[in-house]
Amino acid sequence: MVGAFDFTPAIPLLPFAAFLVAMLVGHFAPRLLPKGGAIPGILATAGSLLLSIWTFLTVSGGSYHAQDIYTWVVGQNTFSLHFGILVDPLSAMMLVIVSLVAVLVHVFSLGYMNDEGETGLPRYYAGLGLFTFSMLAFVVADNLLMAFMFFELVGLCSYLLIGFHFREPGPPSAAKKAFLVTRFGDYFFLIGVVGILATFGTARFVAVGDGVHSFPHLAEQALAAAGGEGTMPEHVAHFLDVIGMNAETWFAILGLLVLGGVVGKSAQFPLHTWLPDAMEGPTPVSALIHAATMVAAGVYLVARMYGFYALLPTVLAIIALVGGFTALFAASMGVVKDELKQVLAYSTISQYGYMMLGLGTGGYIAATFHLMTHAFFKALLFLGAGSVIIAMHHNEDMWDMGGLREKMPVTYYTFLSGSLALAGIVPFSGFWSKDEILYEALIYGAGDSPILLAAYAMGLLAVFFTGFYTFRMVFLTFHGEPRSDTARDPHGVRWNVKLPLVVLGILAATVGLVNMTPVAELTGLHIEYLHQWLVIPEASDFAALGYDNYHHLLEQFAGYHAADIGPLAPGAVSLALALGGAGLAWVLYNVDSPTEHTEKLGGVKTVLYNNYYQDEYQVWLAQGVTLPLARAADTFDQGIVDGVVNGVSSVSLFAGSRVKRIQDGLVTHYAALLTLGLVVLLVAFGLLEGWF
């Protein structure tokens, strides 16, 4: 029988076909390409969406799927490397999210790119197609190496799309920075991938079928054996012997190395600096990058291999701290930004910080939940911002806006829905997911993990900032009196802009209802659908990817124990903070003619405006340290290394030219030299042989 899983490979391949069409037809016969490639792109991603939904429904029927598609390298007397697909609740959910956002971004691009008369559209849609393909293939990857490979392709696509307007100076520079900073993270990630393959001989996330193993499970066995239960897998023992480390330390190092890639792509401190610059890309691309693809890839990867991270309490604590710190750090910078997309950029960094916080504190479901809700409301906010930018003739400064509420009601109300979700106001989606992350952090932190409590405190504080900058943005953009001519007479937007906004606006408002933990607690109803979705029955081959297994691993290996705290009081605290932040924004900015209040921050303002000088020190590392070092190496190379080579040749030439003089053609000189030589020889032999 033909089932959804037979078509799963087509989910990524359809956008790839759209990429090929846009590229080839766009190059050889651009006139034949409808809407510059938008139509093939929309058809392909819509096809992916339908197949994803079918896959999703099949998974909800309780059947999962793992299949090797293509053996990339057939190892002879060593391990093989392959591509395969893995469809489980996590990847099925992500497939739907990615393909849905991709379709909407394509439709929106009709309004943002085609209607605005951009040139180079085939290149744009080819990039979008390749981007969607890479991300979907990353999502279904059944092993870490394949995930890495498509992770890198995602990076390439972001480079191409951020730098889309390559004739201007800014975008190419931003594209370069995005690739370079994430490449720095991927350096560690690649060491981690290579290390995992070398240690375990496999990079599979889950072992389904005979004769295959998965690295999280082998790691679990090895750690259990180190603790005295069972036996250590032979090759793992051998490798640990070679490097002379114990299992716990080495696995923690591997986990941290892979985390390097996550920190880079998901823009966590200290590799977050590329993301605000990436706003140079066209706004629909920003929506795609931030909501569903590149930045999401990092967090998704941690969730994907959670069976490995759940074994490593040290790494979990670092994930939680990095996440909590990033959430607060980025939120504080979002407070002073003047440009609409900049506020959203810092909010993205901050929100992914929350997801990392959730994963680090054992809140696997909560983090996955937030990944989903954030995908919708952040895509919505970026597309809403794109709508505003069209209306404002590509002016992004919020101080030139104001009063757009009356002029563009669809954009306003959908944007408001997204903002309420971002700020975490009940009952919008972001509230439920963010609240759950904080709740998990609290209960596991209170269960004797003070480090997690510190991460929790940072995450909680960030809620206030989030509420503030979100509504500062809303009020400055949409409320009050128009502060410029364009704001008084904005450019209209068409259905292709409004439709994606409406779809996402509804989702941002409602999607949180799938996992209302506090309500479930209060009423005793079984309405935590996402929770149930992510649980895999123990009898299944895929049980290792289920929440129950992660929960068990967290308890057994990471020593995570939940304290008995109800969800209501913590939820109320975070809601109160969000409302407090929003309320402060209301007081300061919801007036007819708002003024800048940032001066009141004093010296702090300068620090925030300059993003804590993070960019400066990274630029200094590149241009102030590495480049002079390279130049010094070059001077050394030209002067010393090559100097020696030229010196040898000069000495030879010089010696040759001097020795040449002996051959002057005078027989008497030759005779004298002969005699001299004989004497020297005689004396030498005489001394050595003892004739004297």
């Binding site: 490449r183 350096y187 060491i191 290579v194 051998h238 190496a633």
Partner: protein, 516 residues
Amino acid sequence: MLIEALIAVTLVSAFVVMLAPDEVAGKLAFALSLLPVAGSLWMFGQFDASGNALFESGNLAFETTARWISVGPYALNWHVGLDGISMPLVVLSTLLTSLAIVSAWTPIQERQSQFYSLMLFMLASLLGVFTALDFFVWFVFWEFVLVPMYFLIGIWGGPRRKYAAIKFFVYTNVASLVMFIGFVALVFALPVQTMDLPAIAAALDAGNFQTTYGLGAETLKVVAFFAMFLGFAVKVPLVPMHTWLPDAHVQAPTPASVMLAGVLLKMGTYALLRFNFTMLPGVARDYAVLIAIFAVVSVIYGAMLALAQQDLKRIVAYSSVSSMGYVILGLVAYNVYGLGGATFQMVAHGLISGLMFMCVGVIYNVAHTRMVGDLSGIADKMPVTAAVFVAAAFGYMGLPLMAGFAGELFIFLGGFSATFPYAQLFTALAMFGIVVVAGYLLFAMQRVLFGPFSADTDYDIVPAAPHDAAAIVVLVLLVVVLGTVPEVFYGMIQDAVNPMVDSLPEATAFLTGGEL
């Protein structure tokens, strides 16, 4: 007799082209160069060898042996054949020569028949280097490769061509001498009456030395190993023996650069693999740390030098130093992924560096400058070239599904599962090269290809000639195919390196095969 036919056809083609008038020489050379391409591809299709050429268990493809001459007690025989290591390099040589000939059509406007003839002479000698299995035959071809390259640089090169050509010739020739002495000394110490490489390898494996010049057998092996290592390292080139390379590349005309980076450098690593690492694995193992240090220094130092350059060609030249360091790391790892990856990387880097040089050449043909500061935003004027340049640069950075990633990944996997001391640390350090390479190529692309258009040159920036664009597009497609289906070569490569791995079981951290 296929190998002989292949070399003979190439040689005859070289003579034909030499006699042809200048106006048709380029087209004729390309058409004739397709014969060795077809021949090597046909041989690739018929390839049925198994095992390693230097092992008795090895089963060679297209092998021929013929008595030639005797020198004293030593029989010098014509002995050629292919195994899984040499076959891919033969295909690489023929393909790259054809494409390099196309890339010469635009820039080479003087003494064309001589130019193309020398290109084909070089291919003939390269085919000899990769197929010969008798030391004497091999050495003749090895030395003969230098001659056409010397003239290609010395006649058609840039302003300092004489200096570069002589430096290239003398440096590598002196190195060859050291290598020759080292190897011959080793052979004279063995009870063999031949210069046949498999026989010598077998004798070394048996370890019966007749004489060791009063050194002790182990010491002799070490001395011979390092004499050969030095000789080959100049060719690779390994830091600090690399300084001839940037001069040669910058002065050489584009097609010669393509051949130099694409194939000639691989002679060094191929010889290291065949001689040092196959015949004296014990020494390679004992000095693994030292060799790994050379490899890591080459990778990082070479990449840092590339970062400091302003001339696109110098950037690519130094990055070759960096990439070839990876090959050495793979060799020293001495397991399937290491040795196989090193061999694969020779082919992959051959294609990608050839591609990079051709891209730079296409820009130079149009702009007549290669300096990063002179050009800006030329993607607007040369869209196809810019697109291929971006693809090539990402290929060089190791983008997955392109050949360079596969080669580097295999080497990293090999390095990480090697058992010599600190192998993992060395590998991790060398891997930092992937960040630096991204740095200098991204900077170069941002400046040259993107941003507002400006060109500090007297020439109009116009799209590349169709044949130039076609050549780089074909090459970039080959890079993608090889990265997507590495098994094309990697299966036979693994088969050929496995006997080596078996000869040194302590070098690999893995005990079992298959997917673990």
